[in-house]
Structure formats: structure tokens, C-alpha cells
């Protein structure tokens, strides 16, 4: 279908966006990459009165390292992340996960900010944000604030951003060179939304797991960390038994959704299987290059 008519604005600064959001409030939608919003509008499931196109704001697209953290502008294309030497070097987990996000042509337009603000339960980038304990920078009528990963998503497709706020930047701590990581996704076809995905990062020192961070996508209504599985690993030597226990803990910790793609039971089972596979692969990986 064709979208319903709307008023279109393409501001060139963040301040202009704030003015437009203030004026139009709930009638307006922010348009980032459009890979989610436009399909919904073409279904006429979304019919905003006003579209505020963020693609003409150059200050929103950048990748740089500042004080041990990688700062990424919200409008940075997923494709830029895919080919960024900074991301490959300092955020290798994101570098691996980004190739699972849709297909190259959707990554040409899709943005990191759009993915995080949309908070689709099966999206990979929110999962990576959890594992790497990143944070987002948000602009509102009263200025800026940061939201840590754990507080960003409230429910399926619902973030803690207010209607008059806009996500402008994402920040990740640079991954330590000893960090080992892996991500696995299960979907019906390549490039589909994950039915279940697990990402993990481990810091192993002197044979023991010093730090473990594990999160899922697609399993529950939103990505969250599996702290019980992390606890099953931290302080221990990561052998096959420990991995199995952690995988079981992960399966018990999740609250899987049930839909046409998979039942609750099967998603729980997938969580266990994928967690075990991810941990096994992470342990065998030699850490970031």
C-alpha cells in the first residue's frame, strides 16, 4: 500500500528537531533509516501527521574514540559500523553482530540510533548494547541526559525516551583486548529477525572468568542481561560443566514469548542451546584482534 499523506520536515540541526517535536508532539514521528517506519507506513499501520526526517543533520553521524569509549552518532548507518576500522578494532562484538542485522541494502540506510529507539525485541543492536554495557545520549527540551543500557528499554518496542526526546548518540566502552566474545542467532532464514539470539563477552584471566556479560534477543519482549547465567560463570574456570550450568541458568532466567514462529518452550530450549554454543565459541576465541 501507499502511505497516507503527512507534513514533511527535514531539519538540519538538533535544535530544529526539538522545536518541531515541541510544536507537533505526539502527531510527529522521527524518521531515521526508515527501514522500520516506512514499512509500517506502507501498511498504513502507522499514519503520522508529521514526519521529521533526521537524515539532513550531519552532526548526528560520526564514529570516534573518546577517553576509552567509542562514541557513535545516532544517525550513523549500520553499514558504516560494518566497515569501520574503529568498530572492528575496539568493538569486535558489534562488528560481528552487525552483519546479522538485516541485509547490506538495509544497512545502507538503517541507523544505530533508529534500531535502539525502536527497541524491537528481536533486534541485535540492543542486545549488544546490553552485553557491552553501553549507554545512550538523549536530547530533550531541557537539555541532555544519558541512559545506561539497563534502563533504556522498558518493554517490547518501548524505550524510556519521552515523546519530546531524541536519541543522539551511543557510547560503548572499548572492549578490552582480553575480552572473548561470540554471538549466535537462530532464525528461519538468513537476515530474518532472530527467533532467538545470544551474545556473550567474557574476560578470562589466569584461567578464570573475571567478568561475564550475556544477553539475548528474540527470546523475550526485550533484550536484557542474563545475570544468573553470568553469575554461574564469574569466578570460575570456564569448562564444559560450567558452560552447561550457565546455559541452564540462562534458560531458566528468560521469560520467553510465544508466537507463530516459536513456542515459549522452544525459545527456552533455544536459549539453552545457543548460550552453550556461544560460551563454547567465546572461550575458544582468542580475544579481539
Amino acid at each position: 500500500m501507499k502511505p497516507a499523506a503527512f507534513d514533511y520536515y527535514a531539519p538540519t540541526t538538533i535544535d530544529d528537531v526539538m522545536v518541531l517535536l515541541k510544536r507537533h508532539g505526539g502527531d510527529a514521528r522521527l524518521l531515521a533509516g526508515g527501514q522500520t517506519l516506512l514499512p509500517m507506513m506502507n501498511f498504513r499501520l502507522a499514519a503520522p501527521e508529521v514526519i521529521i526526517d533526521l537524515n539532513r543533520i550531519p552532526e548526528l553521524a560520526f564514529i570516534k574514540v573518546v577517553d576509552g569509549r567509542v562514541h557513535i552518532g545516532a544517525m550513523t548507518r549500520q553499514r558504516s559500523l560494518e566497515f569501520s576500522p574503529i568498530v572492528a578494532r575496539d568493538l569486535p562484538l558489534l562488528h560481528e553482530a552487525i552483519k546479522m542485522v538485516g541485509h547490506l541494502p538495509t544497512r545502507s540506510r538503517g541507523t544505530i540510533g533508529g534500531s535502539l529507539a525502536n527497541a524491537d525485541s528481536a533486534a541485535e543492536i540492543p542486545m549488544v548494547l546490553q552485553v557491552l554495557e553501553g549507554e545512550v545520549l538523549v536530547h530533550g527540551p531541557n537539555g541532555e541526559r544519558t541512559i545506561p543500557a539497563a534502563e533504556l528499554v522498558l518493554d517490547a518496542m518501548t524505550t524510556s525516551l519521552a515523546d519530546d526526546e531524541m536519541l543522539t548518540e551511543v557510547r560503548f566502552p572499548v572492549m578490552r583486548s582480553e575480552a572473548r566474545f561470540a554471538v549466535e542467532e537462530f532464525s528461519r532464514r538468513h537476515g530474518d529477525f532472530a527467533i532467538a539470539a545470544v551474545a556473550a563477552m567474557l574476560v578470562v584471566k589466569d584461567g578464570r572468568c573475571e567478568k561475564a556479560r550475556i544477553a539475548t534477543a528474540g527470546v523475550s519482549s526485550f533484550s536484557s542481561r542474563l545475570t544468573m547465567a553470568e553469575e554461574a560463570l564469574e569466578g570460575k574456570a570456564v569448562d564444559a560443566n560450567v558452560i552447561e550450568r550457565a546455559a541452564k541458568a540462562a534458560a531458566e532466567a528468560v521469560e520467553p514469548v510465544s508466537d507463530r514462529n516459536a513456542s515459549e518452550e522452544y525459545r527456552r530450549h533455544l536459549t539453552k542451546v545457543l548460550t552453550a554454543r556461544v560460551l563454547k565459541r567465546a572461550v575458544q576465541s582468542k580475544g579481539s584482534a
Binding site: Y8, P39, N42
Partner: protein, 168 residues
């Protein structure tokens, strides 16, 4: 009037000035306003990839892009792939390897492949299949398309060495 937009863009090397509703999809703008009907529409949901074109050299699904967003862009569609009547190596390879049957997905396949090969000039079969999974085809079963892409990649590597390859 925020319900309509003026657009200036370059398509296949030619400058165009257009005026359309702000809701006009890029695919429809190309097909209906510029009469470039080589770009096809398969779903309008951004899933099938048939409508894929090159915007500033990158593959993009034109059914989920607003024409307004192409203001200032350089666009290449299937009509602009041949140079002076000569097939682009990917077009030639598709022809020689029978990589198209009904031809409906072909515009999307060509744009996707050309972009992909710029990011990976020596792909494996698995990598080619992964890249092609961005466009759905119901006729070919993909086997000949895979062959065509591997073939084209090889030829293009050879031509690059000779400095003979023009940039799309």
C-alpha cells in the same frame, strides 16, 4: 507546503528537477515521475529487495525510501548500468549464465550484486549466497545467479588489474 517537496537529483548521470507529494515513495518517483520503469516493486514492505537501486553508490530499497530523501543524491537504476550500449560486467555475466528468467527481480539483483562486489571483490559461494539473500527470486532457484556473480567477480578482478573498469 509541507505536503509536497521539490527534489533535485541526478539519475543515471542526468540531472532532474522534480516536484511531488512528500509521501511519494522513491520507487514510484522513479517509475511515475521520471518514467524509469526499470525499477520494479515487489512488496512495498522493504522485504523482497526487488526495488533495490544504487543511491550514492550504495544499494538501497527504494520502496522504503521517500523520494524527498533523494534530494541531492546520485542515483543509479538498471537503466543506467550499461555504458554506451555495453553491458556492465555483471549484466553480461547474468546474460551468459542464464541468471534471469522472468526478469522481475533482476533490477534489484543487479544493484545488490554491484554494491556487494564493491565491498567484497573475491567472495566465496557462501558469501555470495548471503549477499543475494537480500533479494527474493521465484524463478531461478538462485543457482545460476550465484554462478553469474562468481563469474563477474572474477572478470572484474581481472579488468581492475588492467585499469579497465569504470565506476558505477
Amino acid at each position: 507546503m509541507a505536503k509536497s517537496v521539490d527534489i533535485r537529483l541526478k539519475v543515471n548521470g542526468k540531472n532532474y528537477v522534480g516536484h511531488c507529494e512528500s509521501r511519494t515513495l522513491m520507487a514510484d518517483f522513479l517509475r511515475d515521475h521520471l518514467n524509469l520503469t526499470g525499477t520494479h516493486i515487489g512488496c512495498e514492505h522493504g522485504v523482497c529487495g526487488v526495488c533495490t537501486i544504487l543511491v550514492n553508490g550504495e544499494a538501497v530499497r527504494s520502496c522504503i525510501m521517500l523520494a524527498a530523501q533523494a534530494d541531492g543524491a546520485e542515483v543509479t537504476t538498471i537503466e543506467g548500468l550499461s555504458l554506451q550500449g555495453q553491458f556492465h560486467p555483471v549484466q553480461k555475466s547474468f546474460h551468459e549464465n542464464h541468471a534471469l528468467q522472468c526478469g522481475f527481480c533482476t533490477p534489484g539483483m543487479l544493484a545488490t550484486v554491484i554494491d556487494f562486489l564493491k565491498t567484497n571483490a573475491s567472495p566465496t559461494e557462501a558469501e555470495v549466497r548471503e549477499a543475494l539473500s537480500a533479494v527474493l527470486c521465484r524463478c531461478t532457484g538462485y543457482q545460476n545467479i550465484v554462478k553469474a556473480v562468481l563469474d563477474a567477480a572474477e572478470k572484474m578482478r581481472g579488468e581492475k588489474k588492467l585499469g579497465a573498469l569504470a565506476d558505477v
